[in-house]
Amino acid sequence: MLALQGAFAAHEAILRTLGCETRQVRNTRHLVEVDALVVPGGESTTMSNLLARSEMLTMLHAKALGGLPIFGTCAGLILMASEICDGRDDQHALGVLDMAVSRNGYGRQIDSFETDIEVRGLDAPFHAVFIRSPVVTRVGPDVEVLAEVDGNPVLCRKGPVTVTAFHPELSGDDRLHRRWLSQTGILRHSSAQDGRGLGRSRAGAQTE
């Protein structure tokens, strides 16, 4: 997990219950050692700033384009995008996914919300928490849109890279983490369909 700033601990807790070995990535030495990377929510400007200062930016860019499995949530989605409509001039977008985003496009904290969304490939709705979330305003043809809110993509995938505008680490539902892990081959014999909530997945992880 990228642990420069933000909600990395919440992701870490979920991945551990799924039987993953996790480590906090704060420099290039850590980054070369991981098989996959969660880029958590937090302040995207802060993360971008710290990435540039830690010399990880170039390495992360190369690894992301080279097929490193990445799960980016909120600020992580912004970092993976190709275009930030209203970001700061010095803010980095790695261009891993062909998409344009508007930062905090849903407004201020008072407009932050939670709601159930339909996700392609999941039987039951996913409870999604949006916190000062970005709005995806455009996606390229090679980006698969798996869920939308108000016609804007909120869950997208391209190969081993999955991004969400919301916070799947906050609602106690591990299906999207499981799906990303199984799609990228990190967690085998696991299907996003076979269970909902941390209780059952914990049992699943023990059988891994």
Binding site: Q5, L50, I131, R132, E148
Partner: protein, 297 residues
């Protein structure tokens, strides 16, 4: 895809969620848009908009109130990161105004002059989340029971002296540790001693942590101070006077941001601390006329 599902705003999850996003970050006191830009450039995770930093409030004396809404709006326009602002303890009318201004977090703060000697704000009545200060676990749990979505240890604001922040953090973290060791019968006594709701005490016994994120404030003046409090269990830091009362605010701000991320890496702390110039002049706690941490109950 069905898009008619109900949206809920101002929920506990949404309020605590923003605090989750600020973890590992630095929240900086700023008094104008220029300061706010410097803070954002340095990598602040959020800014606290106020008219005077605590050390100036301490020096000037008098009644300290909510900031001018125009000044807060100017800062909101200047930066894209979350903007917080302070209301006086118990002053729910100031809080209602701050909610109307659209601040991202309200700090019901002992740094301002309290407006009510018995009651804190009923924070459940608001859609905007609140952060409150605490000197010990009982105070933290009372604030959480009133609806606070984030706790910060109080420390002693405006002193540049970290000793009170350390005392408060150690007290909170220490008692949490003891509660996790207590048996179920002892939890009733803990609730009584702490003057805190039993269900929150039982929750701590189960989880080993506060039900909301815990940050640290009050007296942090250097990257080393940030590292110290993070190692003691703070999940993020508020820096008030420590940045803009130092000799080079932009460098100090940037260094403390790095320190909050790399708090366990002394080599990086050395690098960011070298040649920083003077930190703010500090104050001895024993020489203070007013201890701000004693405000609130």
């Amino acid at each position: 895809m069905g898009q008619n599902n109900k949206r809920e705003t101002g929920t506990t999850l949404v309020k605590r969620g923003l605090a989750e996003m600020l973890k590992g970050g630095v929240i900086m006191d700023v008094v104008n848009p220029d300061h706010a830009k410097i803070a954002e450039d340095a990598g602040a995770a959020a800014v606290m908009a106020l008219e005077r930093v605590p050390s100036d409030i301490r020096r000037d004396g008098g009644v300290s109130r909510m900031s001018d809404p125009e000044m807060i709006q100017g800062i909101q326009a200047a930066v894209s990161i979350p903007v917080m602002a302070k209301a006086r303890i118990g002053h729910f009318a100031e809080a209602q105004m701050l909610e109307a201004v659209g601040v991202d977090y309200i700090d019901e703060s002992e740094v301002l002059t309290p407006a009510d000697e018995a009651h804190h704000i009923d924070k459940w009545a608001f859609a905007v989340p609140f952060v409150c200060g605490a000197t010990n676990l009982g105070e933290a749990l009372r604030r959480i029971s009133e609806g606070a979505a984030m706790i910060r240890s109080k420390g002693e604001a405006g002193t540049g002296n970290v000793v009170e922040a350390v005392r408060h953090l150690r007290s909170i973290v220490g008692d949490i540790g003891k509660i996790t060791q207590a048996d179920s019968a002892e939890l009733f006594d803990w609730a009584k001693q702490l003057q805190a709701p039993l269900p929150l005490v039982q929750e701590i016994a189960d989880t080993g942590q506060l039900p909301v994120p815990m940050f640290c404030a009050g007296g942090i003046a250097t990257p080393a101070d940030a590292s110290l409090v993070m190692q003691l269990g703070a999940q993020a830091v508020f820096v008030g006077s420590g940045i803009f009362k130092s000799s080079s605010p932009a460098k100090m701000a940037s260094a403390i941001v790095e320190a909050a991320t790399h708090y366990q890496d002394p080599a990086i702390l050395v690098k960011v601390s070298a040649g920083l110039g003077g930190a703010m002049a500090g104050l001895e706690i024993s020489g203070l006329d007013t201890k701000l941490a004693e405000r609130g109950w």
